[in-house]
């Protein structure tokens, strides 16, 4: 009995979430500890005049329960949680969240192309995207901002959120871990629907390889969102082989033709591996990527290209910090 009470007592530390965080493949406990020191920054997002103009750590009398904190003289006695007192023999006060008007929307590409990887030593683009989504979501929840995760290309999976508060972290991680692949679709179409579904602008983070899109149609949708007050960050998630096409033909000889199978459309192309084919690929891919970056930049979006060989910490987080999303 004393051991059980001790466990409860440890959990009652206000600086520690009441429910122990389980280890997850998306985020390690060490990374979570690092993320707690970071904050999402969305410069364009207009802030409301809710009580508590700063985010995350403010507590108020909102009916929305946010957390527990130890009782201090002067706290509202009505907010004491007597059930907890009965269990732990210690006074705790319920703290309600102070809602802000910053909602972070994460749009995650779950099309089949995101499930590809060039080497067993790398994670898939989809997993890498989930990790990025988990990073953003964790920081958002930790600081009591609102998070909404929308995997597109999966019509039968409902979006997650909006979620607020540290207690929703496990739910967010669980959701991201279990989401699967869907059909191919374009980001531009998703943004078109998204813009009509969500009225309140916030920070929109698009996690996709963008392979199904062309620069101008996507830039048009982004421009529309930015004009309405959205802060848009486009993170292109790629596999190293998509920038170095030689890696696609590892093990093949230049004298044997290879059939390339499109993971989304199922289209096949027959080709001879070698420098010629690689050069032809680069001649098509590099201009497209450059044009995509320019167009989205002109549309007002932040751009970031990450490859799955980059570790989340410190590389990816540093880059997010570089572009001003994380502080």
């Amino acid at each position: 009995m004393p051991a059980l009470l001790n466990r409860w007592r440890k959990k009652a530390d206000p600086d520690t979430p009441p429910i122990a965080m389980r280890e997850d493949a998306l985020l390690s406990p060490a990374l979570m500890a690092s993320l707690q020191q970071m904050r999402i920054y969305a410069p364009r997002v207009q802030r409301g005049t809710f009580a508590g103009e700063h985010r995350s750590r403010r507590r108020g009398a909102s009916p929305e329960f946010a957390d527990f904190k130890s009782y201090s003289p002067g706290d509202d006695i009505r907010r004491v949680d007597w059930n907890l007192y009965a269990r732990l023999d210690t006074l705790f006060v319920r703290v309600s969240e102070v809602t802000t008007d910053l909602t972070v929307h994460v749009v995650l590409d779950s099309s089949p192309s995101m499930g590809w990887r060039s080497s067993p030593g790398l994670v898939t683009k989809e997993h890498y995207g989930k990790q990025l989504a988990a990073v953003v979501s964790y920081i958002t929840l930790w600081h009591f901002d609102r998070i909404r995760v929308s995997p597109f290309a999966t019509a039968n999976v409902r979006p997650l959120g909006p979620l607020t508060g540290r207690t929703r972290v496990n739910e967010m991680l669980d959701y991201l871990s279990r989401s699967g692949y869907g059909e191919a679709t374009s980001v531009a179409e998703i943004l078109f629907r998204f813009g009509h579904l969500v009225a309140q602008p916030g920070l929109l983070i698009i996690l996709s390889d963008l392979l199904s899109d062309d620069p101008e149609p996507l830039a048009e949708q982004v421009r529309s969102l930015v004009s309405r007050g959205w802060d848009v960050l486009v993170v292109q998630v790629l596999d190293p082989a998509e920038q170095q096409p030689d890696l696609v033909f590892a093990g093949a000889t230049s004298q044997e033709p290879v059939t390339l199978l499109d993971s989304e459309s199922g289209a096949q192309v027959l080709m001879m591996p070698g420098d010629t084919s690689s050069d032809a690929y680069r001649a098509a891919f590099d201009p497209w990527q450059a044009e995509m970056r320019k167009a989205l930049g002109r549309a007002g979006a932040h751009w970031l290209t990450l490859t799955t060989e980059m570790p989340l910490e410190p590389t990816a987080l540093h880059l997010l910090h570089e572009i001003g999303i994380l502080s």
Binding site: S113, M271, A280
Partner: protein, 656 residues
């Protein structure tokens, strides 16, 4: 590769796999499929149809080379390569081998190989080393048969590696059999020992001091090779090859010894011959012999001597065993003829009996004879003047002279008979001249049924053969020796000797050469015998083990390969020892004492099979296991390369 051949060349048909593999590699394979996120950026790299030819030059890849090598090696393995030299140490013999080792175990193999450098190493010890080398070359599946020659052929056989090892161990400890090696009999036995379906080979391990009938060798259906134990030193040898004794013509009580010494060398040899009587040296004679020469030495032995010995005192040749010889002299009562003479009035007959070689005559009166009952220890009982009643007749052959009127029904009395009926071819009359012989008054006995008249007078027999009531053979002389002039004739002792020989067929050699069989006619009363050899081992023989010979038995002993004294003890039915005889076996013998190898022996060993061809096949080693091992190694390498490629493909997202 020198000496490489294919035992099954038809297997090379499998080389057709080589062009097939090249063709398969030339054919453009179905392109492998690799999944990519999107093909939109690969459209510019699409291969034109003209580039996807149906056939193309084969890619020189490690897998291609490995498959070619595997095809070649498999074809080679199927063709059963065999080589006499290259890699022969790593291959296995193409066919199991049956090795027949014929090992010379004769007395000459006890000679020293090199009297100067290795004064104790004998030829037989070298033979053991050769045996060890021959058996060490055998492999699993081979069979070995060893024929060890000596006084008799000993056969050993082993058919597996463990048995061969045990056999080798046995042969390394086996003693030299000695005697004379009958290679002709051994080769005939080899022909019967040949095994079908195996490579038979006959190897003779010998010092070459022997002879072989070429006709016998020619009938052998296997190659014969000779592993000659060459004498690294000299083969000079002086030997006493003959020793014998005879009663002195001028002195019946003494014996003359005869020794023959032979010089088996290429140079003149001098030596001293020492002669001993009963271990007492009585004479030394210096002799000089030219190469190949011999000398017969005669020595009068002292009266009463029982054993004579000759020895070359200063010989240092390669074979010391034949430098001495010994002999049992006649007069040794233990080995001589034992005669009991029963007569109240001995006549000239006694003297004739005493003149018999090896005869020991015991004289008894009738009363003494009757008092001691029938003498079961005598070889022959002679009654003169009277014959005891039937119940007192001895159970031995008898010579009955002048038995009297009670012996048999008397038809008449011949006043002075003369021989009118003579069975001239009878052995009793060999060398006997009856002309002018008078017999005096002689009763004409009525012979019984079964009796055989040898010499007959006018009315009755003068000499006849009969059988006693107890079944013993009898020679009867009805006449009175004292009334006859026969004893004054030379023929009388001859007749007596003939009569004794016909009644007592006893032979006991005084000496033998090594390897000669010991054949002894035992005493009539002997029911068991024990032979003690030179190693003091006793060999007992009951009547069932002996060969019946008339009224007695004959003992034959062939294991006389060891030089020395053999002792024969004879026992009667009651277990009482009747006699002990000593027989000398001497090493000296013309064939075995000549230590030089027979220069014609090699020519005599040409068999009916061309040894060069057969030995070439036998020496070839099957190399297909090596080829198969190489194939397995290449297939392992193939697997590793394929596995690596498969991992690369799966990592690149390729589908099957």
């Amino acid at each position: 590769m020198s000496g490489l051949s294919f035992l099954a060349p038809v297997g090379l048909i499998a080389l057709i796999g080589v062009p097939l593999i090249v063709l398969l590699y030339m054919r453009t394979t179905t392109p492998g499929t690799r999944k990519v996120p999107a093909t939109r950026f690969w459209m510019q790299a699409v291969t034109p149809p003209s580039d996807t030819r149906r056939f193309r030059p084969p890619p020189i890849t490690p897998l291609f080379l490995i498959h070619l090598a595997v095809a070649v090696l498999l074809a080679v393995a199927l063709a059963r390569p065999a080589s006499a030299s290259f890699l022969s140490d790593f291959g296995s013999r193409t066919q199991p081998k049956h090795l027949i080792l014929v090992v010379d175990g004769s007395t000459s193999m006890s000679a020293i190989v090199d009297t100067v450098r290795s004064p104790t190493l004998t030829r037989f010890q070298v033979a053991r080393e050769r045996i060890d080398a021959q058996l060490g070359d055998l492999q699993n599946g081979d069979i070995v048969t060893v024929l060890l020659l000596g006084t008799q052929i000993q056969t050993f056989q082993a058919s597996d590696t463990v048995g061969i090892a045990d056999l080798n161990e046995t042969l390394q400890d086996i003693a030299l059999p000695g005697g004379r090696a009958d290679f002709n009999a051994a080769l005939r036995l080899c022909q019967d020992l040949l095994l079908p379906g195996m490579d038979d080979e006959i190897v003779l391990i010998t010092d070459g001091a022997t002879a072989v009938d070429p006709a016998i060798s020619a009938r052998i259906a296997a190659p014969i090779t000779m592993d000659l134990i060459a004498n690294t030193g000299v083969t000079d040898n002086l030997a006493i090859t003959e020793i014998s004794a005879r009663g002195a013509a001028d002195d019946p009580g003494r014996q003359d010894l005869f020794l023959r010494v032979v010089n088996f060398s290429g140079t003149t040899a001098t030596t001293t011959v020492a002669i001993s009587a009963d271990s007492r040296e009585i004479s030394t004679i210096d002799i000089s012999l030219e190469p190949g020469g011999s000398r017969l030495i005669t020595q009068r032995m002292p009266a009463g001597s029982q054993r004579a010995q000759g020895r070359l005192t200063n010989s240092t040749d390669a074979q010391p065993a034949d430098d001495e010889a010994s002999l049992t002299l006649a007069g040794d009562g233990a080995s001589g003829l034992r005669v009991t003479y029963v007569s109240d009035a001995p006549s000239d007959l006694l003297r004739a009996l005493q003149a018999l070689p090896d005869a020991q005559v015991t004289v008894l009166t009738v009363g003494q004879y009757l008092a001691t009952e029938a003498d079961t220890r005598a070889d022959l009982v002679v009654f003169e003047g009277s014959v005891p009643e039937q119940l007192a007749l001895p159970r031995t052959p008898m010579l009955i002279v002048n038995p009297g009127a009670d012996f048999a029904p008397v038809l008449s009395i011949m006043a002075n008979p003369t021989p009118v009926r003579v069975v001239a071819q009878s052995p009793l009359l060999a060398g006997v001249d009856l002309a002018g012989v008078t017999f005096g008054q002689t009763p004409a006995y009525q012979m019984a049924a079964g009796d055989s008249e040898i010499v007959g007078g006018e009315d009755g027999p003068l000499l006849y053969q009969s059988t006693s009531s107890n079944g013993q053979p009898i020679v009867v002389m009805p006449f009175d020796v004292n009334l006859s002039n026969f004893p004054q004739r030379v023929s009388f002792p001859i007749l007596i000797a003939n009569a004794v020989s016909s009644l007592v067929a006893r032979s006991m050699p005084a000496s033998l050469a090594v390897g000669d069989p010991l054949v002894v006619t035992l005493r009539v009363a002997t029911t068991s015998a024990t032979l003690i050899d030179t190693n003091m081992r006793s060999h007992t023989f009951a009547l069932d083990d002996l060969t019946p010979l008339g009224l007695t038995h004959q003992l034959t002993w062939t294991d006389t390969g060891q030089q020395g004294l053999y002792q024969l003890q004879e026992f009667d039915a009651a277990g009482a020892q009747l006699a002990t005889s000593l027989i000398s076996v001497n090493a000296g013998q013309v064939q075995e004492s000549n230590l030089a190898p027979n220069p014609l022996l090699g020519q005599s060993l040409v068999s009916g099979v061309d040894s060069s061809q057969t030995s070439a096949i036998q020496e070839r080693m099957d190399l297909w296991p090596i080829a198969l091992l190489a194939v397995l190694g290449l297939l392992g390498l193939d697997w590793l390369i394929s596995l690596r490629n498969q991992r690369r493909l799966s990592a690149a997202g390729a589908t099957a």
